[in-house]
Subunit: 226 residues, 2 copies
Amino acid sequence: MAGEPALAVSTVIFALRNDGEAGAASLRLPLVRRIREPFDGCWALPGGPIEAEESLAAAAGRNLLETTGLEPNYLEQLYAFGDTDRSPGERVISIVYWALVRSDEASLAAEGENVRWFAADELPELAFDHNQIVDYALWRLRTKMEYSRIAHAFLGETFTLAELRQVHEAVLRRPIDPANFRRQVEGSKAIIATEQRLTGGRHRPPRLYRYNTSVEFTDNGPLAHS
Amino acid sequence: MAGEPALAVSTVIFALRNDGEAGAASLRLPLVRRIREPFDGCWALPGGPIEAEESLAAAAGRNLLETTGLEPNYLEQLYAFGDTDRSPGERVISIVYWALVRSDEASLAAEGENVRWFAADELPELAFDHNQIVDYALWRLRTKMEYSRIAHAFLGETFTLAELRQVHEAVLRRPIDPANFRRQVEGSKAIIATEQRLTGGRHRPPRLYRYNTSVEFTDNGPLAHS
């Protein structure tokens, strides 16, 4: 149909990475440099049109794979952005997903002249309304961190309480008292202590925990994760 | 572009109405009878294509106005549905909004041969994946009711505690103890008692309450309500 808006899927990909000068992990996301107008040369979220036989989530997963070589550990629809003036010269409606990848995998991600990881809180001026989209994704991530088991997606199968606390600190951007955190986590049913301890030559290696998978991880309610 | 998916906006419109045989208000939504294939003669959510100069939310508001003659008291994006097989013969991606309208306004809504209000929990087999969409909207409404001031959108500026409790009962589909409800509501900062009482010839007319608008009603986080 002539004049019908164009449709795209874009993906905000978060990982905790140790790329900074300081030792602490920070929340980072990969961006792609645009090589055509509009916004030629600007950084943008990875994305593009939907293929005929592809679901929306599959298109988002493809964005992630093509940009970073990674598979998502968590993928959720964020929002459809459709303001009439968001793309000069053409009406584009972007259905945006957000993805989390594990820190150990993110450190292996491809990077190049036209793909670079940025600190989520120190982004340049991005193409289109992509700064606003990242702000909204950050808000969603932080809200979710407070009440769900989303931190899991940044970690491996087992993790120490210090690792889990560092995820919360990096995402929420505030220091968390270790003793309070331990009390809170151990008081909840979300985490189970395993019999294993972190390997390495330490005198008192810390205990490893895992998420309690018998508690359901419902984020999309009755929608299947497709 | 040939082969590009078609895009539509549909809207799930909820209101509390007293249409049933019993006296209690129930959660109801208007549906539109389809008059062409696919699903000719089936009931469906109101919706259609987006106009060139129209935001997504404006398209959803237009669905509501054209179907019921009403303005929404609350309007929020629900989800974009894009499975490849959801519409026979054509790929259609539907960006779905949900709206709440006030009970007193809903009772004035237009109804006709091709527009009818149904009890949200007793729907017929709808066109496309619209049963699944309504289920998801119901889940979102019920989740939101638990932690936000969404019930407000069903009520006028002032209301009695009994009216507020009836909204919660109709949406959550369970009886709520009046004394507990009063205690909980009065203990929160969400509601403020006014000096007014319900008019009418009663011996002890109940007090009217209003929402505390100094507490922010943030549902979309940093996104503007557009």
